[in-house]
């Protein structure tokens, strides 16, 4: 164990623990300002104090958080979406997902988004994990659920929302990750988790949904 800033490489006794060593890395907010408030994105510019006492700027997007669900049918197929994503200029293959509304719980958000985007409802929801897609410039997190016991109904896409849904075997999804055809991080992680759960190596519900 050491408390100096690392310039070589060592083996920490517990690198995953939240230990005193964190103080040698932490940045503290000195001042915070909103520099842009768009229709979808809010951009902040903070001044932070670094571990050595110096100050620097940090720019980041404020995001409400999101939920992704992996809709798994009893026959080992999953429900996916094709959606054009303007910033990357491609039709992406994705599991359904959506942003949290204010005060909305994660599972409720998942139920709402799944129903709106695909028409499906799921009777069985299992929380898997929380991921952070953009740790250097966004507060975003995505809570991932496995959604089973699916029943089909009518989708209610928002005005101006265009997407297609399709059903495909889990093995195909894994193969699209291997080939690079799936490059959306939440969907890649969902595919790997799904493989772990289906093989029995990992169990849903091992992690608790953060408050």
């Amino acid at each position: 164990m050491t408390d100096k800033i690392q310039r070589g490489t060592h083996s920490l006794a517990d690198p995953a623990g939240h230990t005193a060593n964190d103080d040698a890395l932490k940045e503290v907010c000195v001042a915070s300002a909103t520099v842009h408030r768009g229709k979808f994105l809010t951009l902040k510019q903070d001044i932070v104090r670094l571990p050595d006492g110096k100050q620097t700027g940090r720019e980041y997007i404020v995001h409400p958080g999101a939920v992704m669900m992996i809709p798994l049918f009893d026959d080992g197929t999953v429900l996916m979406e094709r959606q054009f994503r303007y910033p990357v200029g491609e039709v992406m293959l994705e599991f359904p997902a959506g942003k949290l509304d204010p005060q909305e719980g994660a599972q409720r958000c998942g139920e709402r988004e799944l129903q709106e985007e695909t028409g499906y409802t799921a009777r069985r929801w299992d929380y898997l994990t929380r991921i952070h897609p953009v740790i250097s410039y966004s507060t975003e997190f995505i809570d991932i659920f496995l959604a089973r016991d699916l029943t089909h109904g009518e989708a209610q896409l928002d005005d101006g929302e265009f997407l297609e849904t399709f059903i495909t075997p889990v093995g195909q999804v894994i193969d699209w990750v291997r080939s690079g055809r799936i490059s959306d991080v939440k969907t890649i992680i969902g595919a790997f988790w799904l493989e772990k759960v289906i093989s029995g190596a990992w169990q849903p519900g091992e992690q608790a949904l953060p408050r």
Copy 2:
């Protein structure tokens, strides 16, 4: 195969193919403006034409792209970093990564960042895959490499850059993904890929580095 906008669920003959169906999803740029140019982040606001001919706005961050490397030692351990990430307010466990400099190739970027952040150089580089962390509001991509035949040297952290490095077995990394202690998407995906490569199920070099 169908070319109508989907409001039910169907099985596309080839949902992963770039087919005529994409035209029912594509958005076309009508106008583009930079609304904020910060020290690190550039924010754009575009007007796009939707598949139904209507127009709407799209806000997104312009990002140069990044590279992540998985530094794997011969004994089955990997080199990782602990770094405080201000937007999420936590010390994260990560594989080394960094942003592309202008006109810099991906592997050259990886070599530079690995050396600067950790002091290590790798003689063997294998490209694995490209991921998109933020498809709804950033152009960012991350190219992932496996870095082997490692030699230790002196790190050269940028002024104001604070991080610790440590070495841990691959099995431990996978376990931190399972428990949620690792929540950074690029590192999660690196861990899953590493498990596939080490088991022999997937081979490095199956994908070609995009131009």
